[in-house]
């Protein structure tokens, strides 16, 4: 299953040149490792699991529908979103989400509705992993940042606006 999906994915990218093909072959090998290797091998990143549809959406509703299959958000103070009020440089906006107040968190997603693509990052939370993450995002212009947390089959969210004085998506 994993190998099949990765094959399809690399097939989609055969636009690549000679060196690219060599790299693609390398990726194939890596992606096959989980299948071929012994059970004690560490799992490797596989592009097959990437939610390609969700990342291609340009509106909040479409991205949420593609990622979670639902668009209903419940604003909740249990989702703590830490973003700067003003970002001088939209290319590097530090974002932290802490949903430790919620139990059974399955996924944390970060949406920036005014970016060319709404979904910026999604973090599936494994059992035993704290629903508390920090990363850095690019923002094209002043926009809301929405932290969406999936827990117990519901979507909880907190929205904060970040004022961007210099856009991070070029143009």
């Amino acid at each position: 299953m994993i190998a099949e999906a990765s094959q399809a994915r690399i097939g989609r990218r055969t636009l690549m040149g000679g060196t690219g093909l060599a790299v693609a072959a390398g990726a194939c090998m890596v992606l096959r490792v989980p299948q071929a290797a012994a059970a004690d091998a560490a799992p490797m990143a596989s592009a097959a699991s990437w939610p390609i549809k969700a990342f291609a959406q340009k509106t909040q509703a479409d991205a949420l529908q593609a990622l979670f299959g639902s668009v209903t958000l419940e604003t909740s103070p249990k989702v703590a979103l830490d973003v700067p009020e003003i970002a001088e440089n939209g290319a590097v906006v530090p974002v932290s989400v802490d949903a430790s107040a919620l139990s059974g968190v399955q996924m944390i997603a970060l949406l920036v509705p005014d970016n060319p693509f709404t979904l910026t990052a999604a973090y599936p939370i494994a059992a035993g992993t704290a629903p508390n993450i920090s990363c850095r995002l690019k923002m094209a212009k002043t926009s809301n940042v929405i932290a969406v947390v999936q827990a117990g089959g519901k979507l909880y969210a907190t929205t904060k606006q970040v004022k961007v004085t210099l856009g991070g998506c070029g143009g």
Binding site: I10, R13, M16, G20, V23, A24, G26, A27, V30, L31, A39, D40, A41, A42, P43, M44, A45, S46, A47, S49, W50, P51, F55, A91, V92, V93, S96, V112, N115, P116, F117, L119, T120, A121, A122, Y123, P124, I125, A126, G128, T129, A130, N132, I133, S134, C135, R136, L137, K138, M139, A140, G168, C169, G170, G171
Partner: protein, 103 residues
């Protein structure tokens, strides 16, 4: 693409806090180069962190994650001396992985 991953994993009681920095251009596909041509999108799609044979954290990224992406998270179920394996794959099929001891 060797040595693109820097990671620090520190055990504190039963919780391991992980901070990682990956060297990657994370080109969004909207930026033009000095000749006015669009730089094609080139970004990491999936990052996987594994302790032993168990995936403890996965990141799905789009082109709007900053260049040289930083990530911080914590998990339970590993101890000092265990090995953390980090791997990523990008939209061009490039990939890298490394291991780091939990300190």
């Amino acid at each position: 693409m060797a040595h693109t991953i820097r990671v620090r994993a520190i055990a504190n009681g039963d919780t391991v806090q992980v901070q990682s920095l990956i060297q990657h251009p994370m080109d969004s596909g909207f930026v033009k180069d000095s000749a006015g041509k669009l730089i094609p999108p080139h970004y990491i799609e999936v990052v996987t962190f594994a302790a032993g044979n168990k995936t403890v954290f996965t990141a799905f990224w789009g082109p709007a994650v900053s260049k040289d992406p930083y990530l911080k998270f914590s998990f339970k179920g590993a101890k000092k001396g265990d090995t953390l394996t980090i791997s990523w794959v990008d939209n061009k099929g490039m990939h890298d992985s490394t291991t780091a001891p939990i300190m």
